[in-house]
């Protein structure tokens, strides 16, 4: 392992008209780290995520993953070739498909060597899919969704859908996962479960994380480092316990 950071973003800028959504932000994520990102609503966190993961194109700035410049790559290419995955603020699952199929889809593009090979129905193809099914079942067990694995994902609760989304992102053995408010709108019991799965993925599977979260307790308990954004700019970054004491952070975000 090199000392190079896993993800290195430099001078990222993105404007929508006159609004500078992200204004010259540079951050890095180390290997094996769980980093948090906090900030008031409209501080540019989600735009920053979109620009880092290829959903939106940054105006300027560079995104490097594992030393490779991935600026301007599409969302699907960053996921497939970079193994950097992201979740969305509003929970999204493939609603009419059951839980198991949801996970299999999430793994397919990482198992099949090319787009054309996905049209095959031969032995190789069947083997690949059954391998995916096995892995999907392991992750479904881990996420506690075993009993509902054959139900359409759209019929499940918001919390369960979060877990599906999370388990889906672990299908391709990712290097880095960017989570956009994973705890929003779910009950405390599922929060615990999501926290456990994040820690498990981090410790046992070696996945690094960048987590946008408003739940300060969660941020301080799982993150090794916290980055604070405010009005499109990086306000401060540091250890969680230092951040919550920081006067500027209190004024901008935590309130008093």
């Amino acid at each position: 392992m090199t000392g190079l950071p896993l993800l290195e973003i430099k001078n990222l800028r993105k404007s929508y008209g006159a609004v500078k959504a992200v204004n010259d932000v540079s951050i890095h994520i180390n290997r094996g780290e769980i980093a948090g990102m906090i900030g008031p609503n409209g501080s540019g966190k989600s735009t920053f995520f979109d620009c880092s993961t290829g959903l939106a194109k940054p105006d300027t700035g560079t995104v490097k993953l594992d030393g490779q410049d991935i600026t301007g790559w599409s969302l699907n290419r960053i996921a497939r070739e970079g193994r950097m995955l992201r979740s969305f603020q509003k929970t999204v699952v493939f609603k009419s498909l059951d839980v198991e199929e949801n996970l299999i889809i999430a793994g397919q593009m990482f198992t099949f060597p090319s787009l054309w090979s996905t049209f095959g129905l031969g032995r190789m193809s069947r083997q690949r899919v059954s391998g995916l099914r096995e892995r999907a079942r392991e992750l479904i067990k881990m996420a506690g969704l075993w009993d509902v694995r054959h139900q359409p994902a759209g019929n499940l609760s918001g919390g369960q859908q979060k877990l599906i989304q999370f388990a889906s992102m672990l299908m391709p053995e990712p290097k880095l996962i960017l989570l956009d408010e994973p705890m929003a709108g779910i009950n405390p019991k599922i929060i615990e479960r999501v926290v456990d799965t994040i820690l498990y993925a981090n410790k046992s599977l070696g996945v690094s994380f960048l987590v946008i979260e408003h739940n300060i307790d969660v941020v301080t308990s799982i993150c090794q480092r916290v980055i604070v954004l405010d009005q499109g700019q990086k306000l401060v970054e540091g250890l969680p316990q230092d951040i919550i004491q920081d006067q500027r952070v209190r004024e901008a975000y935590l309130g008093g």
Partner: protein
């Protein structure tokens, strides 16, 4: 095991295989059962089933509403007609060529069109049909304009010493049936493949599909091309059946008919398209002899769809099939 249990098991026996066999016999014996006109109606239904299968991959599985299907149907018909009339190439060569030409033309059309979102895409595909008709009307040196191409030969097969021409309605029915079965199997294979799963993912949520590494744009383009191949093949069979091709082959009415087959039969299901073709093309064609009843029946079908079967008739077919299979 108690007596009641056994009795129930007998009652719930799986009758799908016998029923399938009955359907197969009906399909094979149809030309002997019905009149020549009924057979003709079934041929038209089988021909329209081909572009409808392609459209179903696009609308039902990938979630892209397209009205361009009649354009590719027309391109296929003209390709087959021109080849047959100008070069005298055999039926199967024209069939393959029609599919390939339609698929190839779909590439340059799909690249800009698929950049558009929802309604703009629909409008753009509508334009393809109109442009296709304009070209067929005005490129007189090739297409002979409004006169169209006529005396396209009936399919002729020559295998070594064995050679025969499919001329009668009955013979053509079996040819259309064979092509229809092959096309249905091809769709089944595509849908069952991992790519089929990716297509459904794109329909359900395109951004989410992107985020798990699926190159959605390339998939959409490929499916657009595949659907054009189906339409092109359908067009070539149509040309060889009617022996005439005119600019009227590029008709909005055909695009909407294909769409009604897919949506009415049940988008995203194969059985729905087969059933839809029989109902919306076969039945209306068969009712042509009683013009006053024809549109009333068609209208009633559409009303039933709108009020009771929003998802098309396929949920009904599936329920029936499950009941036959012994489910509760």
């Amino acid at each position: 095991m108690s007596l009641t249990e056994t009795a129930q098991q007998i009652r719930r026996r799986d009758l799908r295989i016998p029923l399938g066999a009955v359907l197969l016999v009906i399909a094979l014996a149809a030309p002997f059962i019905g009149s020549r006109y009924v057979t003709h109606s079934l041929i038209i239904a089988l021909i329209f089933m081909l572009p409808a299968h392609g459209l179903n991959l696009l609308v039902g599985y990938t979630g892209l509403l397209s009205l361009a299907q009649a354009a590719f149907f027309g391109i296929g018909a003209y390709t087959a007609g021109l080849l047959a009339v100008t070069y005298g190439t055999p039926f199967y060569v024209n069939l393959l060529a029609a599919g390939l030409v339609a698929g190839a033309i779909a590439l340059p059309l799909g690249i800009p069109a698929l950049r558009l979102r929802s309604t703009s895409f629909v409008m753009c595909t509508l334009g393809f049909v109109i442009i296709g008709q304009a070209i067929a009307k005005n490129w007189i040196s090739v297409t002979r304009g409004d006169m169209g191409l006529s005396s396209i030969p009936k399919p002729h097969f020559a295998l070594g010493p064995l050679s025969f021409t499919v001329s009668g309605t009955m013979g053509f029915y079996y040819l259309a049936l064979a092509i229809g079965v092959l096309a249905t199997l091809a769709v089944w294979a595509i849908v069952r493949s991992p790519a089929g799963r990716n297509m459904i993912a794109i329909r359900e949520n395109e951004t989410l599909a992107e985020s798990v590494g699926i190159p959605t744009w390339r998939y959409k383009l490929i499916v657009f091309m595949i659907s054009a191949v189906f339409a092109g093949v359908g067009g070539s069979v149509y040309a060889h059946y009617l022996t005439v091709v005119s600019p009227l082959t590029f008709q909005m009415y055909y695009s909407t008919t294909m769409l009604i087959i897919v949506l009415g039969g049940g988008a995203g299901t194969i059985s729905g398209v087969v059933f839809g073709s029989l109902l919306f093309v076969g039945l209306t064609e068969a009712l042509r002899i009683t013009p006053e009843l024809r549109m009333i029946a068609y209208g009633l079908c559409l009303l039933a769809l709108v009020f009771w079967f929003r998802k098309g008739f396929s949920p009904l077919i599936n329920r029936f099939w499950d009941t036959v299979g012994g489910a509760k």
